[in-house]
Amino acid sequence: MYNKYCCYLFIACIGLLSACSDDDPLEDIVDNGVVHYFVGIEAATDPTTDVLTPAGSLTENLISPVDNGFAQPAWMTFFQGYDQIFTTGYTSAPEFISYELVDGELTKGESFFTDLGIYALYVVDESKMVLIGSAREGQSDKKIYLINTNTMTIEKTVETGFGNDPDNNLMAFPTDVAVRDDKLFASYMLMSDDGSFATTNSNEAKIAVFSYPELEFEKIISDDRAANVGRYYTLNALEEDENGNIYTFSPSSLTSGYNPVPANNSAILRIKSGATEFDPSFYIDFETLSEGYKINDMYYVADGKAVVRVHLEDETMAEYYWAAYAPTSETPILETGILDLNNKTFTLLENVPKGGGGWNSAVMVEGKKLYLGVSNSTYASIYVIDVENGTATEGATIDGNYAKGILSLVEPIIN
């Protein structure tokens, strides 16, 4: 979902004036505007206090929500729109709130509510966003919502029961959604419909394909070389590159919430540009490639290179179950590396500290760099990963439990 935005930012960043960031760390100037950075921070516990915090720099100093930024009404998810930042969480119902720049100032805008919890979302363009709402139990229909982000209004709701397997008491639970051209792709995991999250039949990659913007169900595509795609609340299981290819990853691990663990190795598949089937010529057996690591997250950056967050687990040890959902873990498990999707090579970035993970990731792509939130019980910061040079450098420190989203808005320069 970040890919469209990445391309946009990529273009915007071509004219980046490097001298400017040294003299004036408050903002970067691109040729069509001034970039303002923000970080969604879980700033405190009991009660959980999330703050959408303006950040002077992502690469140095402390980003602090103390007396700084918009207090969030609940425990929120932060994600990037085109000229908007969205936050969502359960307030008095699942609520989506828009923030944008008005005269260079971050301003709270309109909001809307949905009647189901949202587990997959994708910003299509400047005015459209799609969401998938689902129950976490039972065989009930899911809902795909088409949102007008200018008015923050639901334009269309489609009820659809795709992917369920009632004979085996399994429900299809959405893990991510992406729109490419006139197709909508919804990846899902099959889990027990009794609310136990058990994954007894998850050994195949499965994606539902819909027409867009009609949102009519077309088919389910599957591939038995890899297990279910994505994990609970991934938001980055379907990653699009510059050429319109969609890459998917299958965690196949207790750590990412699959119990029992599917037999297939943690792997990467591809849907080629223009195609609506998995590409039979592309397959990365990541566990074999990396000598035992499994993928928890994959973020496509540029030039066929992605940053992956990976871990080694012992499938027989129950404490690994959901282990990647603990951003303030005392026993963090996630390591970081660069995966070259074209050359099928993997490099571990040894200097990035182990992180406890989380739900969706705090990531932002800028050119050939990825900003990544890394946290555990004694550490919270942003790392800058340069896929071109294969390096990782420590950036700004987070004054809070962890970064939940790394975001930016461009203030246009009006001549």
Partner: protein, 788 residues
């Protein structure tokens, strides 16, 4: 130290060698009255009567004296004696003071309370003044300084009580000395009828050993009527929002053999259908209406009932009290909306409810002078059998007008899209024995042992995880062994108690996962030592009090092994600990016509290892990570002017700060909340009430009173006050005014009251954006007869 010891010896020797004045203080029915203070004037020395109303004064020189007999609820009586060194018997009959009973008597430590507890930071509320009102234990407690009660809605709704900044489970509540949390939701402070309550003792920070349990920040003991008389007390009240409350309490006592039977019972019901403003949402567009609509809470009804029958003997040679009883209680509580919603939920619940049913058997035995004059013994055995049911089985969606539409499948409920029908059976055994040995007038020692064993087992046809977690019994055993020593010097002016408590905690349970497969057993066994002291010195009208306790609270069963819903087991929790300090003084001018009493108590609670809930997505688990430093001051004041006007004022200022330097309790990242005020906690609050009482309004044997009370809570931040600069949520400053009118005739036999709560219809929020009821009216009739 040595001099002190010798002076004690001298006191012992002298007390043995001297003659005495003894006697029996009785009421108009000839029953002995305990706790009456007998003061020798002009020496100002004195004693209190024992449980049978007997007293003894030793060590007087020959001469003329006035003996003054006084106690709450009785008219003071004086008699002149000429003491010539020979044993003298002076028996007295005291008259009840009906006017005094009407008032709310807040006594820092009055004659009516148990003498040995005097040094604790304690407030005692006599509930007699409340019995004619539509009120429950929570309403009474809300008027005590340092106490703040926050309720999410109307009668029966969830509430959280905080005492000097420490809240929830950290403050223990007892019913006649038995920990009340084991009675469950059908018997709690917010449904316990005022008519059953004799008095409420609030121990701030330091808890005497006879209230035997683990508590972090104090204890509240609600005592029910234990009078050795026959009486009948029946009441019925009705109020706004379909509220009906009834209670019937009666006791018969055979004066000859002491055979006693009593019944205590109540019935509460309320629809709680007050109106709340909701910005309704059109889910077709997702947009919220700009103007709120006032809608009725349509699924928030509450019903509870209790019958408690006891039989046995009171005031006999073999026992002051030997009673066996059976209690039945149940309740039914509808849930209108998600507890964690910010404000009114957009999608209300229409069928979610909880039920609970309990059968409790109790045996109590109390005896002063057991085997010897010097030994007092109190004990109880309680068994609790309880069944509770959480129900969310309707595959429908409601709107705020009470209309429902079916969902597309019938596997989901209303909460969180999962069905629940969770039945939990609880068995609980509590035992306590307390022995106090009075070595002599100056020294006493007390030993206390309590055992508390809990077993829970349950099933849920919809959730396999619950079946696994509770399929086999989960057991918790808590034992407390405590000892104290009390020293009384200088004619009872100087009193000190030292105590120590040993806690032993054991838990055996299961660990399981979402799918309910592969359960693995886990056991916890921990023990801990606590100690403290309390001391007081009285000088004329002044009394100084100081106390300290190193307090401990063990994690609750729910914190350790979850609730089978969304609370996840956290078996590695360690006990919470706090160093509690109190320093206070009391000034009492007990003038007959215009008594004045003021007490000020400063306190510090230095707590660590706080158990806090952490919400992550759908799961809640508990961690021990915060340190909290709480400092504050409580003030309470009461003044009666010429028996007609009564003014009482109390207020609390709390300075609660997060005292954890590092995030997540581990050295690494410095916390930006270090030394910041804790959010979502009122820190400046108080109330004042003024009442006027008089008699002969309509006839020459009636009395009436009219009171006005004002509550105040200063605004506070809902979340951390130092975080963010925009859109910060604040719970606004709140003022509420209540008005009450009470009319009694035939010497208190017939009573009627009328009250208006929230007179100005103020918008009151105890929890952020969750509105409490507006103006409401209550009317109550009560019949009270002391002799049948």
């Amino acid at each position: 130290m040595k001099t002190g010891f010798f002076s004690i010896l001298i006191f012992i020797v002298s007390s043995v060698s001297m003659a005495q004045i003894a006697g029996h203080v009785k009421d108009e029915n000839g029953e002995g009255i305990p706790g009456i203070s007998v003061v020798v004037e002009p020496l100002k020395t004195g004693v209190s009567t024992d449980i049978n109303g007997k007293y003894m004064i030793v060590g007087l020189a020959n001469g003329n004296y006035i003996l003054s007999y006084s106690g709450v609820g009785y008219e003071t009586q004086k008699t002149t004696i000429n003491y010539e060194g020979r044993p003298l018997t002076v028996n007295i009959n005291l008259k009840e003071n009906v006017k005094e009973l009407e008032g709310i008597t807040i006594t820092g430590k009055s004659e009516s309370t148990i003498v040995r507890e005097q040094a604790y930071a304690v407030e005692v509320i006599e509930s007699k003044g409340f019995k004619n009102l539509t009120t429950n234990a929570n309403d009474i407690l809300g008027r005590v300084s340092g106490v703040n009660i926050r309720q999410s809605g109307g009668i029966g709704s969830k509430f959280s009580l905080s005492l000097n900044g420490i809240s929830g489970n950290q403050v223990r509540v007892f019913l006649d000395g038995v920990p009340m949390d084991y009675f469950g939701s059908s018997l709690s402070l917010n449904n316990f009828s005022a008519n059953l309550i004799d008095r409420i003792e609030v121990y701030k920070g330091v808890v005497p050993i006879h209230l035997s349990s683990d508590a972090l920040g104090g204890a509240i003991n609600v005592t029910t009527n234990g009078k050795s008389t026959s009486y009948l007390d029946a009441s019925y009240s009705m109020g706004s929002f379909g509220t009906h409350l009834a209670s019937l309490n009666t006791q018969y006592r055979n004066k000859k053999n002491g055979f006693t039977t009593r019944i205590k019972s109540f019935y509460n019901r309320s629809n709680n259908n007050y109106k709340v403003p909701v910005n309704l949402v059109n889910f077709e567009t997702g947009k919220e209406e700009e103007e709120p609509v006032w809608v009725e809470r349509f699924h928030d009804a509450y019903e509870s009932k209790m019958v408690w029958a006891e039989a046995g003997f009171t005031g006999t040679k073999f026992a002051d009290q030997l009673m066996v009883g059976v209690l039945y209680s149940d309740n039914y509580n509808e849930l209108q909306q998600a507890a964690n919603a910010i404000g009114q939920a957009k999608i209300p619940y229409g069928e979610v409810a909880t039920e609970e049913e309990k059968i409790i058997a109790n045996l109590a035995f109390n005896k002063r002078k057991l085997f010897t004059e010097k030994l007092s013994f109190n004990s109880y055995l309680v068994t609790v059998f309880s069944k509770s049911l959480s129900r969310d089985t309707a595959s429908v969606r409601y709107d705020w007008y009470g209309n429902s539409t079916p969902k597309t499948d019938n596997a989901t409920g209303e909460i969180e899209n999962r069905k629940t029908l969770f039945e939990l059976e609880t068995e609980n055994y509590l035992a306590n024995a307390n022995a106090e040995y009075q070595l002599n007038k100056y020294h006493s020692i007390t030993l206390n042992y309590s055992l508390n064993h809990l077993t829970v087992q349950g099933a849920d046809p919809y959730k396999n995880q619950n079946n696994t977690q509770f399929g086999e019994p989960n057991n918790v055993t808590k034992q407390v062994l405590a000892a104290s020593y009390t020293n009384t010097l200088f004619d009872e002016k100087f009193k000190t108690t030292l105590f120590t408590k040993y806690y032993d905690y054991g838990l055996s349970s299961l660990e399981t996962d979402y799918s309910g497969s592969e359960p693995s057993p886990f056991d916890v066994h921990k023990s801990n030592l606590g100690f403290g002291f309390s001391t007081t010195y009285k000088y004329d009208k002044w009394q100084l009090k100081a106390s300290y306790e190193k307090a401990t609270r063990f994690p609750e069963a729910i914190e350790l092994f979850g609730d089978g819903l969304n609370t996840v087991a956290s078996p590695s929790l360690t006990p919470e600990k706090s160093n509690n300090y109190n320093l206070g003084f009391l000034f009492g001018n007990k003038s007959a016509h215009s008594p004045f009493i003021v007490s000020v108590n400063g306190f510090v609670r230095d707590a660590e290892n706080f158990i806090i809930p952490v919400v992550q997505g759908i799961k809640v688990y508990h961690i021990n990570n915060s340190k909290v430093l709480s400092k504050g001051i409580d003030l309470s004041m009461g003044y009666t002017h010429r028996e007609h006007w009564v003014l009482s004022v109390n207020g609390t200022y709390l300075d609660l700060r997060d005292n954890s330097k590092w995030r997540n309790g581990q050295v690494g990242v410095e916390s930006s909340q270090y030394k910041v005020r804790l959010p979502n906690q009122p820190y400046l609050f108080g109330n004042a009430s003024l009442s006027y009482r008089n008699e002969e309004l309509f006839s020459n044997n009636d009395q009436y009173s009219i009171s006005l009370s004002q509550n105040y809570v200063y605004e506070f931040f809902y979340k951390w006050e130092n975080l963010a600069s925009k859109n910060k949520d604040v719970v606004p400053t709140q003022y509420t005014t209540n008005m009450e009118f009470v009319y009694m005739f035939k010497e208190g036999r017939y009573n009627a009251s009328f009250s208006v709560i929230n007179l100005w219809n103020a918008k009151v929020y105890d929890n952020f954006q969750q509105l409490r009821p507006g103006r409401n009216f209550n009317f109550k009739l009560r019949y009270f007869l002391t002799k049948i």
